[in-house]
């Protein structure tokens, strides 16, 4: 029996009222809109049970409900219904089913379900075409369906149709054998690129295996005298994907035999740890789901930053929420399980006012979402993921560039806290044992995310599979996270744990099986969302919210009881074994039997080559005269330098009661560069977190781009109270067209800088991630080919531990009369600066990109550490993008205090007022110092370059002089207005 329950907000509620879509060019046409919720219930319930269900869905002070009848439609001409496409995760429906079965004390049968949708009642003088426009603005056809109904008598009497969006899969296909032994080169290429040929003639979607890999696989099976099954081939494709094996970083390139990762990133960490000796604070690097460092004698903290770019381009909300809850799982799966204590994010978007139409296909059917929709969806996705999970979102940035129009970059990271010793063992040394059950906990498996890992390893174009998109369910995961990290871990109920991310159980089981030998899986024991999945789909599906654990047989009963009582599904799907094979059975029949050695190490090595391309950019024409007030105000209000307060305010950053330095600081609520949290109530220790990225610098030189990012991350951390002796970093390398030799040349330069800079500062890499193909290939509205590649983007995140949270420092000026200093030297380094991009209109960006002098800067940072430890600076702000002018602007707005400074005698070689104000020279910090501390301060910094530039003022006057010339002359309130204008446009 199918029924609909409509929930209608009452007058006081106000929830049902939305704007009349004036932004769609429908000004004056839409008279009224009401939004109601529909719950389509497909279950044999009695009328009484239906009524009870209706009552349970409303708060009677805010809403009413009706069964199968819509409210009065007199004032409306169209109804637009938006619901999920079949098979797409419907979180609200899950809650309703759980609640209703609890209420009625009857479980939902397999065929029974609830489906939710939003129903928009629209009135006015509108056409169906207008409603189509509204529909496009409200839904994403990849995951949702929109249906338009003209208001008719039938509708008034019967309500909306009772149609169930159930997933109907063609009859389930059993495992097939792929005739690889006699395949010719063409067939190998085709299979690698488009997928296995189904018996019905369709290809199954990309394996992303190149010819060389396909040949190795062909040979391997020739040697063992049989053909591979589909599941074996799909499994290899997952495990060998760029996403999982990081081949660009692993293969030898030019004369770098061991590849970039081993030769630079890992080597940096090894060399640093060796040099630190007994002061080494690393506990787990590169080997686990996250990297871990010492917090104190009892605890460790972990950090991991992921990217979720391709999915976010297609479904921004789903992509971003999956990104954040996914990286939360990396934390839950770190060591024996760490509790997520903070989230971080980073977004690189196209400009929201970019209205160019782009399509994935030549027929112009598959329209790309415009940046404004991507911005909106991604921000909401991180919002829902972080807020619902009770994890404070403390650090983040937004960058805008036209080249992120094809693929946005969405970085999502999580910091975790775990005891160092769990049940008497080092928490970092987890080991599945032969004989342990393979247990999957959390959500069920559907087609979502099939080919996710191989998809993110290729260019985004019209063949990108929509099933690769998933929607996260933070509450299912929260239940799972609490049950594991707060209970099962400390009751010693499992031997090992890992996350199910890319490649699903095919990767997590194979990965854990390394700890003991091998594994045997009975694939039919994996719980499914709906029937009809083939074994290979179950094996590689990336359905979310699942973790894989090794549970000793004698602990299974207790484990299962605990999970059940916490509302978490747990299933035994197999057993870990001593045999060095990964075996999958389907109803007892072996369908996969692969030596672990070939699965993990069979991927052929490949020699990469790079070349260098020297680029010379035009120098922009500098403005005349000496007053730069206008340029200054435009700059501090620009998309890249303006506040992103609207994001910080909608992300809960105070849950867990740990905040010390928040994402918004001071009277003026400025964004902080680094944040400080105090995660253990009874300890004064604190964690400092920051990140840095300079995509524009890479246009000129990726070596400098990278060293500047590291320098800035280090400097941000120290400004907030961190120290060089307890600071670790992470790299996220997002590249484009990574088989292009010039792009590889840029990559080599960037990764060399990782080694050089990290080693000089003694800041080890503890984790990293790469995403090497951020390219879009499609068509403009006239059907012309368009290719957009992101600028090479290397994000550095940093995590450090402070001994005393009381020493934390915030960036805003505090008290009028304080003396303002700048530490470090300012040079003519405006190349690719925000200022040059502005006045050179993104074309004439100059060439003098900032260089990092680690020796000089180390002395500066050590001196800064000392004055902060002594508590004699009132504020410290790192000079980053936008230069000294931006740093002074933020410090002033933060304190809502004026300044009077003179840059005449600025240390360094900067000559023009443009360079003095806007150069982005590294290694610089603006600090303010109380009069009483000036002497002590100056004696502690006497061996480093610094300039005393002026005073914090009690009024609102913001004055920057160069000798007698007033080069910026404005008011703090004016700066605040400009600085917040971009953010306010989103409210």
């Amino acid at each position: 029996m199918i029924s609909r329950i409509y929930v209608v907000p009452n007058e006081q509620n106000g929830k049902g009222k939305i704007l009349p879509f004036n932004n769609l060019g429908l000004y004056g046409k839409v008279a009224n809109v009401s939004v109601i919720d529909s719950y389509l219930v497909n279950a044999s319930l009695t009328p009484e049970q239906l009524n009870l269900t209706g009552q349970s869905l409303i708060n009677k002070k805010l809403e009413n409900y009706s069964i199968n009848s819509l409210p009065n439609l007199a004032n409306f001409s169209y109804i637009l219904e938006i619901g999920f496409a079949p098979g797409v995760t419907d979180n609200v429906a899950h809650t309703v089913m759980e609640s209703v079965s609890d209420l009625l004390k009857r479980p939902f049968a397999d065929v029974e379900a609830v489906y939710t949708s939003k129903v928009f009642l629209i009135g006015g003088t509108i056409s169906k075409e207008d409603v189509n426009k509204i529909a496009f603005s409200l839904h994403n056809p990849l995951i949702e369906r929109a249906t338009i109904f003209p208001v008719s008598n039938e509708l008034k009497n019967k309500g909306l149709p009772l149609y169930v969006p159930v997933v109907v899969l063609p009859k389930k296909k059993d495992c097939i054998v792929v005739p690889l032994s006699n395949a010719n080169t063409d067939e190998l290429i085709k299979t690698g690129k488009e997928g296995i040929l189904d018996p019905d003639g369709d290809r199954r979607g990309p394996l992303a295996l190149d010819l060389e890999s396909m040949k190795v696989i062909q040979n391997f099976f020739k040697n063992i005298k049989r053909n591979p099954t589909d599941i074996e081939l799909e499994s290899l494709a997952q495990t060998w994907s760029e996403h999982c094996k990081h081949t660009i970083f692993a293969n030898s390139i030019d004369d770098i035999k061991d590849g970039l990762y081993k030769s630079y990133i890992k080597k940096a960490t090894n060399d640093i740890r060796k040099a630190k000796g007994k002061n080494d604070f690393c506990l787990s690097v590169f080997s686990d789901n996250a990297g871990g460092i010492v917090f104190d004698d009892t605890y460790m903290v972990s950090h991991k930053v992921e990217t979720h770019n391709s999915p976010s381009a297609l479904d921004p909300f789903g992509g971003a929420i999956t990104g954040i809850v996914g990286v939360n799982r990396d934390t839950i799966g770190f060591g024996m399980g760490a509790k997520p204590i903070a989230n971080v994010y980073g977004f690189c978007f196209g400009y929201p006012d970019d209205k160019r139409e782009l399509y994935k296909d030549k027929k112009l059917k598959q329209k790309m979402l415009p940046p404004a929709r991507i911005v909106d969806g991604v921000i909401k996705g991180i919002n829902a993921g972080g807020n619902c999970s009770g994890i404070p979102t403390i650090n983040g940035f937004t960058k805008f560039d036209d080249r992120y129009r094809g693929k946005p970059l969405v970085f999502a990271g999580t910091i975790g806290l775990s005891p160092r010793i769990v049940n008497g063992k080092n928490a970092t040394e987890k080991r599945a044992r032969a004989g342990d059950y393979i247990v999957v906990v959390g959500g069920k498996v559907g087609l979502d995310g099939v080919h996710g890992a191989t998809f993110s390893s290729v260019v985004l174009d019209s063949s990108s599979p929509a099933t690769a998109v998933q929607i996260g369910d933070p509450i299912t995961q929260k239940k799972l996270s609490d049950a594991i990290v707060k209970e099962a871990r400390d009751r010693n109920l499992y031997n090992s744990i890992t996350d199910n991310g890319a490649g699903g159980i095919s990767c997590s089981v194979a990965e854990m099986a390394k700890e003991c030998g091998g594994a045997v899986v009975d694939i039919e024991n994996v719980p499914l969302k709906y029937p009809g999945l083939s074994p290979w789909q179950i094996w590689i599906s990336e359905s979310q919210e699942r973790m894989t654990l090794a549970v000793p047989k004698n602990k299974w009963d207790e484990f299962q009881k605990l999970m059940e009582s916490r509302g978490v599904q747990a299933s035994v799907i197999g057993e870990f074994s001593k045999n060095k094979n990964c075996v999958v059975r389907h109803n007892g029949k072996v369908i996969m039997d692969m030596p672990m050695e070939f699965l993990h190490n069979g991927l052929p090595a490949r020699q990469l080559h790079s070349k260098r391309d020297v680029k010379i950019f035009n120098e922009p024409k500098l403005p005349n005269g000496y007053n730069r007030t206008k340029e200054f105000l435009t700059l501090v209000g620009s998309a890249n330098l303006g506040s992103n307060r609207w994001i910080s305010e909608q992300y809960d950053h105070e849950v867990q009661s740990s905040s010390v330095v928040k994402p918004l600081s001071g009277a003026g609520l400025i964004n902080t560069d680094a944040q400080v949290i105090k995660p253990v109530f009874k300890s004064d220790r604190a964690v400092v977190v920051t990140s840095s990225v300079y995509p524009s610098y890479g246009d000129i030189n990726t070596y400098d781009m990278t060293s500047c990012a590291i320098d800035t991350a280090v400097r941000n951390a120290i400004c907030a109270g961190g120290t060089l002796d307890h600071l670790a970093i992470l790299d996220n390398t997002c590249w484009c067209s990574s088989y292009d030799e010039v792009r590889l040349g840029e990559l080599v330069d960037a990764i060399r800088a990782c080694y050089d800079t990290a080693v000089d500062y003694g800041t080890p890499f503890i984790s990293g991630k790469d995403s090497m193909f951020n390219d879009f290939k499609g068509y403009d509205k006239d059907g012309n080919s368009v290719a957009i590649s992101i600028p090479p983007t290397l994000l550095i995140s940093a995590i450090g531990v402070m001994k005393d949270f009381n020493k934390a420092v915030t960036p805003e000026f505090k008290i009028a009369g304080d003396t303002i200093y700048i530490l470090g030297e300012t040079h003519d380094e405006l190349g690719a600066s925000e200022y040059y991009k502005q006045i050179g209109k993104n074309i004439a960006i100059g060439n003098s990109v900032p260089k990092v002098d680690t020796k000089k800067n180390t002395k500066i940072y050590k001196a800064l550490e000392k004055v902060i430890a002594k508590g004699i600076v009132a504020s410290a702000i790192s000079v980053n993008s936008g230069g000294l002018a931006q740093a002074l602007a933020k410090a002033s707005v933060g304190g809502m205090l004026g300044i009077n400074v003179d840059l005449k005698k600025l240390a360094g070689t900067a000559s023009s007022i443009d360079a003095k104000l806007f150069s982005e020279s590294q290694g610089r910090i603006v600090v303010s110092v109380a009069k009483g501390n000036v002497k002590a301060f100056e004696s502690l910094i006497k061996n480093i370059p610094y300039t005393k530039i002026g005073q914090v003022k009690s009024g609102k006057e913001f004055l920057i002089k160069n000798g007698t010339q007033k080069i910026v002359d404005t008011k703090v309130d004016t700066i605040s207005k400009f600085h917040n204008s971009f953010s306010n446009s989103f409210k």
């Binding site: 509620n13 999970s389 609490d482 009582s565 009661s657 008290i815």
Partner: protein, 259 residues
């Protein structure tokens, strides 16, 4: 029954997420607190009779799906209504913070309802409130500054009921432009709540529901002006307190049983 260290039960499960800090706040205030998963309480309902204070902490129970607090309240009502009635009939205290407040309005322990913020957006910021109610929870509180973080915090009440509640001392807090709003130039009412209501009480004053999070203001360093105050204190050579403005709520509750 007085002159004792009270026992506090802090509810958890299904997406509630402030249970640890809420437990810590009660214990710092001198109580003895346990976090109990709702399913464990359902399995052993008699457990509730061991406690003196029942706390529904903040969080996102059931993801706010179908409306904040509703599904958790339904579950509590379906299985534990009798025990809840017995608990309230004793000399006990109850608090619902943020999502907990939403839960206890759905359980009809306090009047009114909480709807989506007028802005339509989730917001995290600090607010100032004047205390206008009378309750053991509010002893000595005149004005208090605390953080909020919610998407559905707009308090809704009909006019007659509001007047009655005001007269009866059941309006606990009203948003006002105080110390923090002045400091950060913020509007007093963060969500469009009717009559600026930020917290309410049951008729007997023993059940408190509030949108702001006292536990997120239990430490002094959590204040938005803490860094400025630290700088001022350093110059006066004075020391900053460790307690933040929120702790008094928990102390009041504990002291109700101790004294």
């Amino acid at each position: 029954m007085k002159n004792k260290q009270p026992k506090i039960i802090v509810m958890s499960g299904y997406g509630l997420n402030c249970e640890e800090e809420t437990k810590y706040a009660f214990e710092w205030a001198g109580g003895q607190a346990d976090i109990v998963h709702i399913n464990d309480l359902i399995a052993n309902p008699a457990l509730l009779s061991n406690y003196d204070i029942l706390a529904f902490p903040g969080g996102f129970s059931y993801g706010d799906d179908t409306g904040s607090g509703k599904a958790y309240a339904n579950k509590f009502h379906n299985h534990l209504q009798k025990e809840l009635d017995e608990f309230i009939a004793r000399d006990t205290l109850v608090i619902g913070i943020c999502n907990g407040f939403q839960i206890i309005t759905n359980l009809e322990l306090v009047p009114g309802a909480l709807a989506h913020n007028a802005s339509g957006m989730y917001i995290d910021r600090w607010v100032d409130m004047k205390c206008v109610g009378s309750s053991p929870w509010l002893k000595g509180v005149k004005e208090i500054s605390l953080p909020i973080a919610h998407g559905e915090g707009r308090y809704i009440i009909n006019e007659d009921e509001y007047k009655k509640m005001m007269k009866n001392g059941q309006i606990a807090f009203q948003y006002t432009k105080g110390e923090i709003c002045e400091f950060q130039n913020l509007p007093a009412n963060p969500n469009g709540a009717m009559h600026d209501v930020g917290g309410v009480l049951s008729e007997n004053g023993k059940i408190l529901g509030m949108m702001p999070h006292p536990e997120r203001g239990m430490f002094y360093q959590q204040r938005p002006d803490a860094q400025l105050k630290k700088e001022i204190a350093k110059r006066k050579k004075s020391k900053l307190p460790t307690e933040g403005p929120g702790l008094i709520i928990f102390k009041n509750a504990v002291n109700y049983f101790k004294k």
